[in-house]
């Protein structure tokens, strides 16, 4: 094994002590073959479940009929995209998607970070555990159940109306789920209620990696609690925040589907319908798979552009980045 490698190559090659290019690649590959082998199944998983389905995108350019062979499909070019971009409903749906996911993104970030910092400041371990457990329990409740809880709570005779009536803040019960303007707010609040605890976990983990001696030093220097949060915890969390932000921007058109579908109704349809519901309606309900694929493709392309720009902006600003 100690045999010098340069003897294998013709004279004039670089010294073996610092291989570069392909040679370096193969050397590393040989050294780390165990790791490489371990990653193969996951790579295959990725290809089979994430890349192979991309083949289905061709249906966007066809008048796709299920149960017919590929050769029998009729090609229509960009017709499906034209139909989408001519449909006024599509723009409303797009607006709703953007607003809903922005609300989800911003609210989700702010509340999760705030909760993580507050939890971190807690002295009583027991209390901390209790708060944490309660706050992430709703994450495990399915949206179907959650939507039922929410609609019962917000019903004209639900607890929210009763409370507000007793406090004298309103004089007649409000039909919360029947007003389009309230929908985004209710959606945002529901998402926070459901996922804040869960989202906190990663920030709490990040906080534990901060060197405790920094806190001690700051304390000795006379920093109060808020100064410690601001100057030590926050900078410590920054890389995690930025990475998650970039990742989530890529998903900005993924505003979710279940809560909108389950909580939305005829009265709020102008605010609740989003891209996923649009795809569902035209694709699965009406069997127009091609149109749905085109809409889905559009979504992917926009997400892709957003992700790349967010990453490059972050790179230029000298911050952490995804790749």
């Amino acid at each position: 094994m100690e045999k010098p490698i340069e003897n294998v190559f013709p004279a004039g090659a670089r010294p073996a002590s610092s291989p570069t290019g392909l040679r370096l690649f193969f050397k590393k590959l040989a050294q780390q073959k165990a790791l490489v082998f371990m990653s193969v199944p996951f790579l295959l998983w990725l290809i089979i479940f994430k890349y192979l389905p991309l083949w289905g995108w061709v249906t966007a350019f066809q008048k796709y009929r299920p149960a017919k062979s590929f050769a029998d499909q009729q090609w229509v070019g960009w017709l499906n995209f034209e139909m989408i971009f001519k449909d006024a409903a599509f723009y409303q749906v797009l607006r709703n998607t953007l607003v809903q996911s922005s609300i989800k993104l911003i609210l989700g970030f702010v509340t999760a970070i705030a909760l993580a910092i507050l939890l971190n400041e807690l002295r009583s371990l027991l209390f901390k555990r209790v708060v944490q457990t309660i706050s992430y329990l709703p994450h495990f409740v399915s949206w179907v159940v959650a939507a039922s809880i929410i609609s019962t709570t917000l019903a004209p005779e639900g607890i929210v109306n009763v409370l507000l009536l007793k406090l004298g803040w309103i004089s007649t019960p409000v039909l919360w789920l029947g007003k389009g303007e309230y929908f985004w707010g209710i959606l945002g609040a529901s998402e926070v209620w459901k996922d804040v605890g869960w989202n906190t976990i990663i920030y709490l983990a990040a906080i534990t990696t901060i060197d405790p001696s920094q806190y001690e030093a700051a304390e000795i220097d006379g920093a109060n609690r808020f100064q410690r949060i601001w100057h030590i915890t926050m900078p410590g969390l920054k890389p995690v925040i930025v990475i998650l932000l970039i990742l989530n921007i890529g998903n900005i058109l993924e505003s979710g589907f279940e809560p909108q579908y389950l909580l939305g109704n005829g009265m709020t349809v102008d605010y609740s319908d989003n891209l996923d519901i649009y795809v569902l309606k035209w694709g699965l309900n009406l069997g127009n798979y091609s149109l749905a694929t085109a809409a889905g493709m559009f979504k992917t392309v926009v997400s892709f552009i957003l992700l790349i720009s967010a990453n490059s902006i972050s790179k230029r600003l000298g911050g952490s980045r995804l790749y």
Partner: protein, 559 residues
């Protein structure tokens, strides 16, 4: 080195497993004994097929019910019965996209989509070979449910053998709580205005029930799939039976869309008025089905429009609980006094609701034999009447009757499930609802005059007496002859302009009707104008022409 080999081996096996998972979606049905011995006569090897229905029910293995057990004894066949959860349109879409079909499918409203996707196998040959009873029952109707290619892909549920009218109201009506009628001495109310006036008077007198506000009128409009429960009312109020999205002129046989028309305006405007008076349940557009049914059984709701089959569980529960005053009585409400109501279905053949065998069926021969066996008259009696002296008895005149205990059980949804009536009396190859058995008894238990008569509670009798009727159906006008009926069973096809019209018009209704009803009366005309303008942009003409064409074809005998 040995370590490396081990790792390689492990990763290889993981890899293989992953590929296997990736490819397993096209799994072939296992070639079992059932398949090989299918040709043998009366094969009774136990076998379990899958059954999927787009209606809502609890999942069950058919042999866990008494009827299913008996049928298994005869044929060796058990069905794993599954029912759609949530939105059936989504479910059918996923099903088609994945090609993952149960052996037997009851497609309900999704039939067009499934037929279009080629989900069913043609049954002609199977019926020819193995279906003497199928031929007997469906023979006279076969041309009414052949598809365009001349083949039969499903067996409808409406092949009547003889005809007896339905004494009860199983379809649509305006329902009113019996205490309201009683309170005011059973007045005769015919028009929509009278109906709401009565509810208003009652609500003023009794603003609360059990400490909670009385609800004047609750519409079932919170479930998108069932939005017709709100919109169909205007068609009935105008004196037409349920033809779906259109009303068909009796003379010219022209089909006309009534959405966004004068009838709908009158109906919605009335609801808007009623809402302003605080009689309309504001939750009508947000409730799900369970919440709506719970409301109907709470005794707070004074009136609703609906189809009895849509709310059956709730009304049966009320009946079971014996609270007669909180139950509902059907009324044939119309817009004006001179309109003749047409709530009762004319004798009809519904050709687009039925049961089919899917292309993924493991053993179509066994299944068709099961169907055929089911259509033997004794089994048709079993699925409707049950077992003699257990769920019905025969009196000295040879008439099938029920003792009071049997009747009580029969009205209990839980008993109906465990015995299997709930699963077998409908949604399988069967005689039509209005059939008569060979011995002259009615096929449907509820249609047997003796049973209907007996099934009436004290409250029922009081109402019938007050209105001078023998049955509830007597309170309604006799149906006129409509040879095309029902127009809602017309197949529109996938991705056609007609279908797109259907979706877009429903989207508009879903958006505007709540706004119109819940908005202030001053804003009504403005919003209505906006709604009709939007509606005018849709291609209703093509839709109407297509329906008119089929209606005329059907009148000419071409189904």
């Amino acid at each position: 080195m040995i370590n490396h080999k081990k790792i390689a081996a492990v990763s290889l096996s993981v890899l293989l497993a992953a590929t296997a998972v990736g490819c397993s979606s096209d799994k072939q049905p296992e070639a079992g004994t059932a398949q090989e011995s299918a040709g043998a006569a009366d094969d009774k090897t136990p076998v379990t097929f899958t059954y999927f229905s787009f209606s809502k029910e609890k999942d069950v293995n058919s042999n866990e019910t008494v009827i299913g057990k008996e049928l298994e004894k005869q044929t060796g066949v058990n069905f794993k019965m599954e029912f759609a959860v949530g939105d059936s349109k989504t479910k059918s879409g996923v099903m088609i996209a994945s090609g993952d079909y149960a052996d037997v499918i009851v497609p309900e409203g999704e039939i067009d989509k499934l037929l279009d996707a080629g989900a069913f196998i043609p049954l002609d040959e199977l019926i020819e070979k193995y279906g003497p009873n199928i031929k007997r029952v469906y023979g006279p109707y076969m041309d009414k449910f052949r598809q365009e290619d001349g083949k039969i892909y499903h067996l409808p549920f409406s092949a009547n053998q003889g005809y007896i009218t339905d004494p009860g109201i199983s379809q649509g009506a305006f329902w009113i709580q019996r205490s309201v009628l009683k309170e005011f001495g059973y007045p005769t109310i015919k028009t929509l205005d009278e109906y709401f006036d009565l509810i208003k008077k009652y609500k003023e007198k009794y603003p609360q029930v059990d400490g909670k506000d009385t609800i004047g009128f609750a519409a079932f409009a919170g479930v998108k799939d069932n939005f017709f429960a709100l919109t169909n009312a205007s068609m009935h109020l105008a004196g037409y039976p349920n033809d779906g999205g259109v009303i068909v002129d009796m003379k010219t046989h022209e089909a006309k869309v009534y959405s966004a028309g004068e009838y709908e305006k009158r109906w919605i405007k009335k609801l808007n008025e009623v809402n302003a008076q605080g009689l309309f349940d504001p939750e009508s557009f947000t409730v799900n089905k369970d919440q709506y049914l719970a409301k109907l059984t709470s005794g707070r709701v004074l009136g609703y429009f609906g189809y009895n089959w849509l709310v059956g569980d709730a009304t049966n529960n009320l009946k079971k609980a014996g609270v007669d005053e909180k139950r509902y009585a059907p009324l044939p409400i119309v817009f004006d006094k001179d309109i003749k109501d047409q709530y009762l279905d004319p004798p009809a053949f519904v050709n687009n609701r039925g049961i089919g065998i899917s292309v993924k069926a493991k053993d179509p021969v066994r299944i068709i034999k099961f169907f055929d066996n089911l259509l033997k008259e004794e089994n048709q009696i079993l699925v409707q009447w049950g077992i003699k002296d257990q769920t019905y008895t025969v009196n000295e005149k040879g008439r099938y009757v029920l003792t009071p205990e049997m009747l009580k059980k029969r009205n209990d949804p839980e008993f109906k499930r465990s015995f299997g009536f709930q699963y077998f009396e409908y949604s399988w190859p069967r005689y039509g609802n209005n059939s008569i058995l060979k011995d002259g008894n009615s096929y449907g238990v509820g249609n047997q005059p003796e049973v209907a008569e007996m099934d009436y509670t004290e409250g029922d009798r009081k109402i019938l007496q007050a209105y001078g009727a023998k049955t509830f159906a007597d309170m309604f006008s006799k149906p006129d002859d409509r040879p095309w009926y029902p127009a809602w069973s017309i197949n529109l096809g996938q991705g056609t302009p007609e279908q797109i019209f259907g979706q877009k018009s429903q989207d508009l209704q879903l958006k505007y009707l709540p706004k119109l009803i819940m908005g202030s009366p001053d804003a009504f005309d403005g919003t209505w104008k906006e709604y009709t303008t939007e509606f005018g942009k849709l291609d209703s003409k093509t839709y109407e022409e297509t329906i008119t064409k089929v209606v005329k074809n059907r009148i000419a005998g071409k189904w």
